[in-house]
């Protein structure tokens, strides 16, 4: 099963109708230029339905969840748990397997610190022994990870004495599966479902198969897959997965950790305090069943409800159609950008096993300078290393320009990007102008 396979169906979305749901998309920037928002890989915009869900909840039912027995507390708890149920269904998980976190970064840290706590080895919880790491053990990640799925593992290794290994990247931006660092010593394999820079979709099933063969746990960074394509976590067979609300048309301040229930039951808590307990005495405490065990303190409630609304919104469109639409935009962007002399795509140049992040460099124009010209035209892209510094090192570049799409983007916006890149080349004098775009000199 290729979870993010290119679609053969054409765009059947009414993008104009979708855009009407996103108030921010109709604003102008930089002296009246229509906004061309191509930075959804960093954060996506939110439809009215999400904004309304948060507001309605706060205006009618706001209360601290899982506490109190009054009417509002009951309604708030129901709304919060209903959101969890819909989000779980959206990614093919059971409700008990969805833990709300602040964001995906916190979700991955939750797993790493849970393992860290299991490695302290105080013998308090024999069930946690399965997560113990120490010298001689290895954690495997990849060179294409976002820092959020790298640094928690670097730190876990530092704390436990385990060793970090990684898959490298091939010249065409795929994971180098030939040089496999997974061995009998591997305890964890943490990898991305879709590179936030290259768009690459690694073969999840194959990596899961290799990890399982040596008894290692898999941790999937699904931040760039769940918002853009149908994802079935049970079918993928990963042990843990993380994604963020704000990249999938939902609020910021809400993320999700998925964990197979059996594993969440054995994993020691990360943050401790109120509402994650079963029973407390002065000498110690026992802990609630997951997911409550991992949700210490009053959680973000309106954000969870907003994410529930985002999932409803995406489901109403259909994730197959979302994927097909973005696939069409990505394919066009890849073709048109490669047509420009001096433009180099980082990562897969075709649309095979690839999502909608298109990173590129322009000969003779630093990404920061290019983005300034694009910004002047109202085009928002990301520049820099996109929190994937080792990936950029692997390609021998400091930084890149990244355009990323979501369901509300249009083919006209792809064309605006391509014209903007050409404009940047003209502005910095690395391409003869095709027509006099600028009056006078720079």
């Amino acid at each position: 099963m290729t979870v993010l396979a290119p679609s053969t169906t054409g765009a059947t979305l009414d993008v104009a109708e979708i855009r009407a749901d996103f108030p921010i998309l109709s604003r102008t920037v930089r002296d009246g230029k229509p906004l061309v928002y191509l930075d959804s890989g960093a954060t996506s915009q939110r439809p009215r339905q999400v904004l309304d869900a948060e507001r309605t909840f706060l205006e009618t039912s706001n209360a601290a969840v899982h506490r109190g027995a009054h009417a509002l507390a009951e309604e708030a708890t129901d709304a919060y748990e209903s959101a969890r149920e819909r989000i779980a269904a959206f990614v093919g998980a059971d409700i008990r397997e969805v833990v709300f976190t602040k964001n995906a970064t916190e979700a991955i840290n939750l797993v790493a610190y849970g393992m860290s706590n299991a490695s302290i080895g105080d013998g308090v919880d024999p069930a946690a022994e399965r997560f113990r790491l120490g010298p001689g053990d290895e954690v495997v990640t990849t060179e294409m990870e976002h820092h959020a799925n790298l640094i928690p593992w670097q730190e876990l290794c530092r704390r436990t004495g385990a060793t970090l290994r990684w898959f490298g990247i091939t010249a065409d931006g795929r994971l180098d599966l030939e040089n496999d660092p997974i061995t009998e010593r591997t305890k964890v394999v943490a990898f991305t479902h879709q590179s936030n820079v290259l768009g690459t979709v690694p073969p999840v099933e194959e990596i899961v198969r290799r990890a399982r063969a040596v008894g290692a746990y898999t941790v999937l960074d699904a931040c760039q897959s769940v918002p853009h394509a149908p994802v079935d976590l049970h079918a993928l067979g990963v042990d843990f997965a993380a994604f963020s609300g704000h990249k999938m048309l939902g609020p910021s301040g809400i993320g999700v950790l998925y964990g197979r229930h059996e594993l969440l039951e054995a994993l020691p808590p990360f943050l401790t305090g109120g509402s994650m307990i079963e029973m407390v005495r002065m000498e110690g405490a026992t802990y609630a069943q997951p997911p409550a065990r991992f949700e210490a303190g009053v959680p973000m409630t309106s954000q969870a409800i907003g994410l529930g609304a985002a999932v409803d919104y995406l489901s109403a469109i259909g994730m197959d159609r979302v994927r097909a639409h973005e696939n069409e935009l990505t394919g066009a962007a890849l073709l048109k950008l490669q047509d420009l002399p001096g433009v180099e795509i980082l990562g897969p140049r075709s649309n095979e096993a690839r999502g909608g992040a298109v990173a590129f460099s322009i000969d003779g124009v630093h990404p920061h300078d290019a983005s300034q010209v694009l910004d002047d035209l109202g085009i928002a892209v990301r520049v820099g290393h996109h929190c994937a510094w080792p990936l950029h090192r692997a390609f021998g570049v400091q930084a890149s320009i990244r355009a990323s799409f979501h369901v509300y983007n249009t083919m006209e916006e792809v064309d605006a990007l391509v014209a903007g890149v050409r404009r940047a080349q003209e502005f910095f004098g690395v391409l003869p102008p095709s027509e006099p775009l600028r009056g006078g000199s720079a």
Binding site: D31, P367, H368, D369, D376, Q398, A399, F427
Partner: protein, 162 residues
């Protein structure tokens, strides 16, 4: 257009033909600064002579830089404006420059002090680029502090080492 006010011809000239580029000997200290948001890097060496503290003279500011036009050009201009002056004068220029680029466009630059560096006034309108404009300049400040720290530690010796 704002873009033109930021990318003035003088900046693009410095970017295409940077002044004083390359790492040279002798030098009293070498520092490496990075802009963590974009990965831009600069290595700056300073060579100081005569006098102590603010009275020392900046004999050379040599550098190697990887980065955008703004950071490259700003370091080139720093070389032009700071070399040949005392540390005290150089710090005054640096202060004026920093105040201008961090001023969100509300600071009227003093052309007598800043010379070519007034071209960077347009950067102040783009907060995200202020770090680019300051990268080489703040590396210089750090390098001077390190060079003088080394001199103080090696009291009595002349010609500090890296």
């Amino acid at each position: 257009m704002k873009l033109d006010s930021m990318y003035q011809e003088i900046i693009l000239d410095h970017y295409r033909r940077p002044h004083g580029h390359g790492l040279r000997e002798p030098f009293g200290a070498e520092v490496h600064h990075v802009n963590p948001t974009c990965g831009d890097e600069v290595t700056v060496r300073v060579h100081l002579s005569g006098g102590e503290g603010l009275d020392a003279k900046v004999e050379d500011l040599s550098y190697d830089a990887l980065g955008c036009s703004i950071s490259q050009a700003a370091t080139s201009v720093a070389h032009d404006l700071l070399v040949g002056h005392t540390v005290g004068e150089a710090f005054e220029t640096l202060d004026a420059y920093q105040t201008m680029v961090q001023g969100r466009g509300k600071v009227e630059p003093d052309e007598d002090v800043l010379d070519d560096a007034v071209a960077f006034a347009g950067v102040a309108a783009y907060p995200a680029r202020v770090k680019c404009a300051l990268l080489g300049w703040l590396a210089f400040k750090d390098a001077v502090a390190q060079a003088q720290g080394h001199q103080a530690q090696a009291s009595g010796q002349t010609g500090g080492t890296a």
